[in-house]
């Protein structure tokens, strides 16, 4: 389809509303946050306008660096787990009967309707010693005695993957539905087993979709701050937890703002790197 570029100022008018909304609800608050991140904190009070780098300086410590590193690592782990689990799942789902697909999609959508708090408490019960899944393993004779699986890194990871999994499936679903099923059939006639066909045809043909999904889940997981607290130890807390702590409990708005700005910059940097790496792979 040929599209003409907009000619007059009037042609841009459909953009006005979203532009205004973005400005009022995103650009302005974000600008305020950047400004606040340079403000001077008043001990015992709030903050006064200034232009100091104290907040950023304080952030550049081993402790906060460690938390930032852990947060990024956690988000990457969630993204990778989600895509690795969701890709084969969604692929098989698209090849099932329409009725089966609908049942699964409704189930996944209902997970989306659960709040993070409910997911957190549900998993902490499932991972507990007294009422958790280990009791089933004991009953089956697979385990000696029931034990608590939370708080632990694995518990945090499980909770976050559970929460992000439906998003991952919903993002991958349209791309996999549109994938020509004769591509895998062709691969099979050319000598590839179904598994080989999946890895040599389906995965590479969907590379861009997979990269986009990884980025989306990564950003989604980066913002999570309830599950790490409910299912993890303090060393499993993400930067989002610390930001909340500084902003609400320590009343240190400038420092919280500085951390948030830093997180955004690092995230944007990582996404940009991924996109550039993706481009390079494409031309090679």
């Amino acid at each position: 389809m040929r599209r003409e570029p907009p000619q007059t100022l009037g042609d841009y008018s459909p953009l006005l509303f979203p532009a205004a909304m973005l400005t009022i609800f995103f650009v302005v608050p974000f600008g305020t946050m950047i400004a606040v991140s340079f403000f001077q904190r008043e001990q015992g009070g709030f903050y006064t306008p200034a232009f100091v780098f104290d907040n950023y300086q304080r952030f550049l410590s081993a402790f906060f660096g460690g938390v930032l590193g852990f947060s990024l690592m956690m988000a990457i782990a969630v993204a990778v787990c989600c895509v690795v689990l969701a890709l084969p799942f969604t692929y098989l789902l698209t090849r099932m009967a329409r009725r089966v697909q609908i049942v699964w999609l409704v189930a996944l959508l209902s997970i989306l309707s659960l709040s993070e708090v409910i997911i957190g408490f549900a998993w902490s019960t499932l991972f507990s010693r007294t009422a958790g899944i280990t009791n089933i393993l004991v009953a089956l004779g697979l385990m000696g005695e029931a034990k608590a699986l939370t708080p632990s890194f694995a518990a945090v990871l499980t909770g976050m993957v559970y929460q992000a999994f439906p998003y991952t499936v919903l993002v991958l679903f349209p791309a996999l539905v549109r994938l020509d099923p004769t591509l895998t059939e062709a691969a099979r006639t050319l000598g590839a087993s179904p598994l080989k066909a999946f890895f040599t045809v389906v995965v590479p043909a969907l590379r861009n979709t997979i990269v986009a999904t990884l980025i989306m889940v990564f950003i989604f997981a980066l913002g999570s701050y309830l599950l790490p607290q409910l299912l993890g130890r303090p060393q499993h807390w993400t930067l989002s937890v610390l930001i909340t702590d500084q902003a609400i409990y320590q009343s240190n708005m400038p420092f919280a703002a500085a951390m948030a700005v830093f997180l955004v910059l690092v995230t944007l940097g990582l996404v940009a790197l991924t996109v550039i790496a993706g481009r390079k792979g494409e031309t090679a």
């Binding site: 059939e185 050319l190 066909a197």
Partner: protein, 345 residues
């Protein structure tokens, strides 16, 4: 036995029988076209030969070996899909090398074979191009080269030329036939285009309703159709009812045709007469009498529509071989026994 054999193959989808008890032998090195209207089961049959669908009953043998339950990727065949199914993330060369790479062939061998195949399909030097930059005909050839990369025992094509424009399609038909003869590979093509089937095939298999109606050489199918479906589906024909009395004197549309024989026990039959065999003469004895209702002058040939006792008969002739006629004129239609094909009921 060398070649492909289908034995009582049945495919059911729920209560629907897509393929009903098909028996077919394809000797090694022959080119078979499966021809039929859409929904006749020809594609399902091809998919079963490829192993993409499992037959509900029956057996498929290749060179004497039962391959009915052998998975597709172990059958060593080459298949071209209607959508071509070229891998969009690979270049032309990588697409053609795919079956070799999957089998772990060394890189140099892959490259050598790709170059060989590219020159065979008249696209030398195209190895590094992305598939998306090719024209329809070029993609077609790449799909064919990819299917032939491992020198398969069986070459299957599902409506391979349907996406091409008419001129290119005709050229590709000839090319495909020449390629098959050069390689001597057993080939099965599914098509709904009878011209395509007539151009390429050693054997045409006409299917309808999940069954084989006739399997024979193109000229045999055209000259001696087994039943009225085949006669009507392949080319144009006039189907006329004929009756025989006790002495086996046959009358067609109320006019006796001496010398025409129906099967011994039949009193009624349908006969097929190709339009080019209908001979127009002056009205008189020894010919059916009709009225010209329409004349279609196509330059190279002229079709004359004649109404004989309420039945329309079409005659095709070249301008020189045909008497001057005009609409409304009375005309004689001469039927000789040698051009009338008696069809089984």
């Amino acid at each position: 036995m060398s070649g492909l054999a289908l034995q009582n193959v049945v495919k059911e989808f729920g209560a629907f029988r897509a393929v009903n008890d098909v028996d077919l032998t394809v000797p090694h090195g022959t080119f078979v076209c499966m021809l039929g209207p859409s929904g006749c089961g020809k594609t399902t049959l091809l998919r079963m030969i490829a192993g993409l669908d499992l037959p509900s009953a029956g057996a498929i043998r290749l060179d004497g070996e039962d391959i009915t339950r052998v998975p597709t990727h172990k059958r060593n065949l080459g298949m071209v899909f209607q959508s071509l199914a070229l891998f969009p993330h690979l270049t032309v060369g990588e697409n053609i090398a795919y079956p070799l790479r999957i089998r772990g062939a060394p890189k140099e061998d892959q490259k050598k074979r790709v170059d060989e195949l590219l020159s065979m399909i008249h696209l030398p030097g195209y190895a590094d191009r992305p598939v998306s930059k090719l024209s329809g005909g070029q993609r077609q050839r790449v799909a064919i080269a990819r299917a032939l990369a491992i020198s398969p025992k069986l070459f299957l094509l599902d409506e391979p030329l349907s996406a091409l424009d008419a001129k290119l399609r005709e050229a590709m038909q000839v090319e495909l036939r020449q390629l098959q003869q050069q390689l001597g590979i057993t080939t099965i093509v599914v098509t709904h285009d009878q011209r395509e089937a007539m151009t390429m095939a050693d054997t045409v298999v006409v299917m309808s309703g999940g069954e084989i109606r006739q399997a024979a050489s193109p000229i045999e199918i055209y000259r001696r159709p087994a039943d009225s479906f085949v006669a009507d589906f392949i080319g144009q024909t006039n189907l006329i009812e004929a009756e025989a009395d006790i002495q086996n004197h046959v009358t067609v549309l109320g006019q006796s045709v001496p010398g025409l024989q129906l099967p011994p026990d039949a009193t009624k039959a349908t006969i097929s007469i190709r339009p080019e065999d209908v001979h127009l003469t002056a009205p008189g004895p020894g010919a059916l009498t009709g009225t010209v209702t329409f004349v279609r002058d196509l330059g190279g040939t002229i079709e004359t529509f004649v109404d004989v006792a309420g039945r329309q008969i079409v005659a095709v002739s070249t301008p020189r071989a045909r008497p001057e006629v005009s609409v409304g004129q009375e005309i004689g239609v001469a039927l000789t026994p040698d051009v009338c094909v008696v069809l089984r009921k």
